[in-house]
Amino acid sequence: MSHAQSESAREWRHAGASTASMYGNFFFWLFREPFPTRQLGQQIVRVMLEGFGILAVSGVVEGAMFAWLAGWYGMKFSVINWAGAATLYLLLSAATTLFGAMMFAAKIGTAFTVEIGSMQMSGQLDALRLMAVEPTQYIVIPRVLASILCFPILKAISDACAIGSSIVLARLWFDISAPIFLQHALLVLRSTILTTSYIRCSLHGFFISINACGLGFYFQGGAIELGKTTTKSIVINLICVLVIDTVYGVMDSVFGWSTV
């Protein structure tokens, strides 16, 4: 194995160990006093503000894209009345969660990694420790809890944008009126589809934020290494999102939560 390969393998091992350590650290400090209520509030506001734009835009794009696909195939196979139902089913059961989680990892996850990594680099985490403040409690726990709470709300916003854009596109492109577009929607949208997708959002928020915070928290090196660590953050989180959705897909096929 060349030096570059062994160096890369060492870096990935460190990244894996960092994220694994953070899971233990998170639960160790979660139930200890003092609970960082103020920081949690600040992070909720921050995650909502930073995540709103990207999740809304991705919702609009997904809605338009799925409506166009459903409308096109609906015309082709003469089932245009079902285009709206198919669009909403795909959007709410899978698309806005999956693509939303990817956007969340890209926007919020990387922000956490860079922010905490630069705090580590400049000695701010050590400064906290010296003031008898545990950085996991003060820095990590508020970010993780804010992600768990905010991502489902951001997904709801993304859903609303996606539904709106799909209705508009269906009207403008295929001349399908909103009542026709929505007429079979209630037949396919079961409450379990919504509940499982929102639970999945919380799970995504948890894993994305823990991975991102862990990589920043145990970061070592300078600006170049911080860049590499941020890349690792997005790669690990995208893989994590896909794994969670795959596991969910398997469980869904076993338990039939989304069965129409």
Binding site: S122, G123, D126, A127, R129, L130, M131, A132, V133
Partner: protein, 251 residues
């Protein structure tokens, strides 16, 4: 008193501190000098329990730091303030919030008391009018002064400085030097400074120790250290003069 005996610390594959033994005397400013990368900052981090030595003992007022429980470490840290390289101020907080942070987080004082103390320490470092400024609006010297105010707010018995003048221009360095001197003179705080800045050492040190090859290789008072010949002069100062002379002659 801070007392280190036989301290050994190694990163994987590299021994940094071989065998450090030193006593930091009360109410004096002790300066540890040595080349960059020799392990001065590592030693400071060992003292405050941020790094754990593989061997040896460090006691602060008789209490062992190495292997201390989390509770004991927290108790020890409450007696120590530390100025990190470049200050390590919290970017998202104003100068006032940075200084108030240790008191506010631990809710160890009322809002009125916090306000009084923060203003007093900002006066002490001469930055009261910058209370609402953000760290990125300050010069390097100002950041160090804010960091000192933050380190002082819990009224520690010991104050540790990690390269307090590194990267500062001469006038900012002079401001930091004066502040360290004044704190020692007015408050009789026990201070430990690690630096490779000879001018700073000459100005603030009561005691000087030379860190070389992972050991304290020489110790002396200020006059003795800067008198020619002395171990510290020979190993450190003369070395600098020699390199300057060589470069000068090549130029």
């Amino acid at each position: 008193m801070i007392r280190a005996h036989g301290v050994r610390f190694a990163f994987p594959g590299r021994t940094v501190l071989e065998d450090i033994s030193i006593d930091i005397e009360e109410s004096l400013t002790t300066v540890i000098v040595g080349r960059s990368g020799i392990g001065k900052s590592v030693f400071l981090k060992c003292i405050v329990g941020l790094l754990r030595p593989q061997a040896g003992s460090i006691t602060i007022d008789g209490q062992e730091v190495v292997g201390a429980t989390r509770q004991d470490t927290l108790a020890i840290r409450k007696r120590i303030g530390m100025l990190f390289q470049e200050g390590a101020l919290f970017d998202s907080m104003s100068v006032y919030e940075n200084v108030a942070f240790p008191l506010a987080y631990h809710r160890s004082a009322s809002a009125h008391e916090i306000d009084k103390r923060v203003n007093a320490y900002l006066d002490l470092v001469g930055l009261r009018e910058y209370a609402r400024a953000m760290p990125q609006e300050l010069s390097g010297g100002m950041k160090r002064k804010v960091a000192v105010a933050r380190a002082m707010i819990l009224e520690p018995h010991y104050l540790l400085y990690d390269e307090p003048t590194a990267g500062l221009d001469p006038s900012s360095s002079a401001v930091v030097e004066s502040m360290i001197r004044r704190l020692q003179r007015e408050r009789a705080i026990t201070q430990l400074v690690v630096t490779h800045d000879i001018d700073l050492t000459r100005y603030i040190a009561d005691r000087i120790a030379l860190l070389e090859d992972g050991r304290i290789s020489a110790r002396a008072g200020r006059e003795e250290a800067f008198a020619e010949p002395s171990a510290i002069y020979d190993h450190f100062i003369e070395n600098r003069e020699r390199i300057r002379a060589e470069n000068g002659s090549q130029g």
